[in-house]
């Protein structure tokens, strides 16, 4: 019975993540359009796009790794989702979130992009490979402040578990974004890179790289990537909410918090042009790193 709850809960989580992620994507498009003084597509535009992509034929492949790539990505997103506490007390989504910790999560999150990169590599399109190298390079950039922020939290609360961090926030009554502000700043700056909006959209850069890694993938491949990307966005946002904003007791609060934090990279991105790769890396090794170090010092002092 418990197993059934687990499975059903897992499916519910995936659906929730998919829906929320996709809607957020649509909303972002809408917001972007409004900022550009346009009307923009409806908020459900992403669902239509996804459905259309799923309906397209997928007539070709360049080898089995291209097929596996999106599958890897999806697996990674869903498995990562399984280890994220969606709601504070588990609630409707009793996943595996009490059995993992942050470091594990960090590495699990890499699994998908690497698989995806392999898939992109097999297509033989140079743009794909270039996009992948950019993405990996950028990842090295933002991982440093991000990990610094996480380590600062770990030190501060003597736990590496996400649930542990949430409990610690619940006990102290303040969110981590207030109790360890530097870590929050570093993490938020790292988040700019993590979401790959402008100015850090160097991976897909449509005008330079013809959308980069996905340039050979249409139809169902693209659908898989799109939906796993949405799930992934949800995962990241929930993770931020969990570790910096005390988690969420119910769905409404979860949506509020995630949306508000999501606006940071989105709004920053709308008004930004694109960086070159090395500029992006150096950006992350500038102020974000500084705040990361501050966070570490702060955490080790207090």
């Amino acid at each position: 019975m418990e197993l059934l709850t687990h499975i059903l809960g897992a499916i519910a989580t995936v659906i929730l993540a998919f829906v929320v992620g996709m809607s957020y994507g649509g909303i972002v498009r809408k917001i972007t359009a409004r900022v550009h003084n346009r009307i923009g597509p409806p908020w459900y535009q992403n669902f239509i796009d996804a459905f259309k992509l799923y309906g397209k034929t997928t007539a070709i492949h360049h080898g089995w790794m291209q097929i596996m790539g999106p599958a890897f990505l999806m697996v990674s997103s869903v498995v990562t989702l399984m280890f994220i506490p969606v709601l504070t007390n588990g609630g409707w989504f009793p996943n595996l979130n009490f059995e993992g910790d942050l470091i594990f999560l960090l590495y699990l999150m890499v699994f998908g992009p690497l698989g995806m990169a392999l898939g992109a590599g097999q297509t033989g399109n140079p743009n794909s490979a270039i996009g992948v190298t950019r993405g990996l390079s950028q990842m090295v950039g933002f991982e440093i402040p991000w990990v610094m922020a996480l380590v600062a939290l770990m030190i501060q609360f003597d736990t590496t578990s996400i649930t542990g961090l949430m409990e610690a926030q619940a006990q102290s009554g303040t969110w981590n974004m207030f109790s360890s502000p530097f870590a929050f700043i570093a993490a938020v700056l790292a988040m700019l890179g993590m979401f790959r909006y402008s100015p850090f959209d160097i991976v897909g850069a449509p005008t330079e790289l013809a959308s980069g890694p996905v340039s050979e993938n249409g139809g169902k491949y693209l659908f898989t990537m799109m939906s796993s990307g949405s799930i992934f966005a949800f995962v990241k946002l929930t993770l931020y909410v969990d570790i910096f904003m005390g988690g969420a007791d119910n769905l409404v609060i979860l949506l509020l918090k995630t949306f508000s934090i999501y606006m940071i990279p989105v709004l920053y991105g709308i008004v930004s042009p694109r960086y070159r790769t090395e500029q992006a890396i150096r950006f992350f090794w500038g102020w974000p790193l500084f705040f990361g170090v501050l966070a570490l010092i702060y955490a080790s002092i207090f």
């Binding site: 034929t57 007539a59 070709i60 492949h61 360049h62 080898g63 097929i67 596996m68 999106p70 599958a71 697996v75 869903v78 498995v79 595996l96 059995e99 993992g100 910790d101 470091i103 594990f104 590495y107 699990l108 890499v110 699994f111 690497l114 392999l118 590599g121 097999q122 297509t123 033989g124 399109n125 140079p126 490979a129 992948v132 190298t133 990996l136 390079s137 990842m139 090295v140 950039g141 991982e143 440093i144 990990v147 610094m148 380590v151 600062a152 030190i155 736990t159 590496t160 542990g164 013809a210 340039s215 050979e216 169902k220 898989t224 790769t277 090395e278 890396i281 090794w285 955490a299 080790s300």
Partner: protein, 617 residues
Amino acid sequence: MEMIYLIFIIFLGGAVATYLLGKINGVLRDITFLATLIVPAVLFYTQVSIGQTVDFSMSGMNLQWGITDFGYIFAYIVLGLGVLAGIYAVAAMKGKENLGFFYSNYILSIMAMMGILFSRDLVSFFIFWEIMTWSSYLMVVFSGKDVQKVGIKYFIFSAVGAYAMLMAIVTTYSLTGSMMIDSLVTAYPGFDFSMQLLIPILLLIGFGVKSAMMPLHVWASGSYSHAPMAYTAVFSGALSKMGIYGMIIVIVSLVSQIPEGHWFREVIAWLGGITAVGGTLWAVAQDDAKKLLAYSSVAQLGYIIVGVGVGTPLAMLAALFMAVMHGLFKGTLFMAVGAIEKQTGTTNFTEVTGLIRKMPLTFLASLMSIIALAGIPPLGGFIGKWMLYESLVGSDHYMLVIVVFFSSTAAFLYCYKFLFGFFLGQEEPEWAHVKEAPAMMVVPMIIMAIGSFILGVFPGLILNPIDAGLQELGYASTQGRYWEMSMLFNEWGDKVVLQPILYTIIAVFVFFFVFVVAKNFKKTRYVSTKDISSSGEIPKAHENLTFSRGFFQPFLRAVEPLMKHQIDPLYTGFGRGMEAIFDFVRRIYTGNGQTYALYAIIFAVLLLIFKNQLFGL
């Protein structure tokens, strides 16, 4: 006869027999070679028990051989990798010249490594250490490429390390009057402070060279890449671990006994961290797979050194676990490179591409090993890294954890480069003829890849012996505190359960593969990699669109300041300078008899002048 002697006699006899049979019959030689590896391995695991020792005396010194719990961990690596790489070597080296020499050297290295693990005294330790050094040196120069540069560099560094160690050994002997490692450990706290510092430093120079610790690592990239890949698997996988083995003994048994040891360990840990970062960055910059893996080995050994330097029980578990894992996955990767080299004749990423459909099994093995190397769950590499991070955070090494994490993240870059460079990208007609490597090469790779998978899911299999080994060194048992058979905990009570991860991954994967991808698989057809969207152009057969040159150029530009300062030119400059000085010294011998006679007279006069100082009269 004592089983321990028997093992070494088989090794030695086998080495000689293999060499001699190599002159007569190839098949017989191969069989002898494999038998010489497998029989002692079987004897070792069945007949030799931990704690069993033999004593003998040589040149007036009492020596002792016997395996400890701690050595047993490394014996797993040495013999396991030795046998598997040996099987691989038979197929990989087929058709090469001078195979008897290669095989007997191979056996000698394995023997020397086992000897190191067996040695309970410093003299036999040193003897086996040197045998290991020169046998591996002969392997490095086996290919005949850059012999004077790479080979000599390796040997000079090894010699410097070994001689530093020898100095420590004789100093120990003069201080304790015994060559036993145990007596050194017992007597160490009683030494005066300078000796307490000198002996570990000298020993660590020796071990640091073998384990490629910065700044003693400069030999590694050349040597790893110049030795035949069949041997490099052992070289990087097992031989470098001997440095770790010694380092752990020194740090845990000696340095920890003194109050200043704390700082010592910090230095070692930081050296390890710097090694990891430097190795990784240089690996990213390489265009040759051998070089890439060589630098990657340096980096991985850096992690292990970090663990050793930190030295909490969890860190030691991590270090040793990573040592085992590194043997597995780096062995596999070097083997894969060897297979590719054999099938294509090159190991350069800019030349060979798109082998995935030609060598799928090699790709599979490489993929699993790379996942393990990158530390991505659910393969074994993750366990080691996870434990290392936990231990670093837990022991307040905040900056070090960032350094290690940076290195580990940057490792994804070269991981991808390796897979992409060889297996992905355009399939060129140039490589259309390439076939999968022979079964004897593929099977060991697959076995080892599966091994790293199994250890990823059931780390307890190897953590158990590691725990026993650590107790041998004086650590309290960690049983149940950090790990179970398939579960890991940290000191703060969190845990990672490995099997659910595996199940989840498999379940989701199967779901997507079956219902999303495989359902449509029939409808899709394979098109060649020339059929890509490249602005409407149709790439010609000879047009290679693979992106392989300057692969991580932007990244390298970004990290340029970190890579600008190399230690290698310093050594080269030092070497050059020394040679120049020597050349100057050489001119003392003018070749002129009159000068020599003059020297003699000057010498006599000088002696007369300084007779009071010299002879005290």
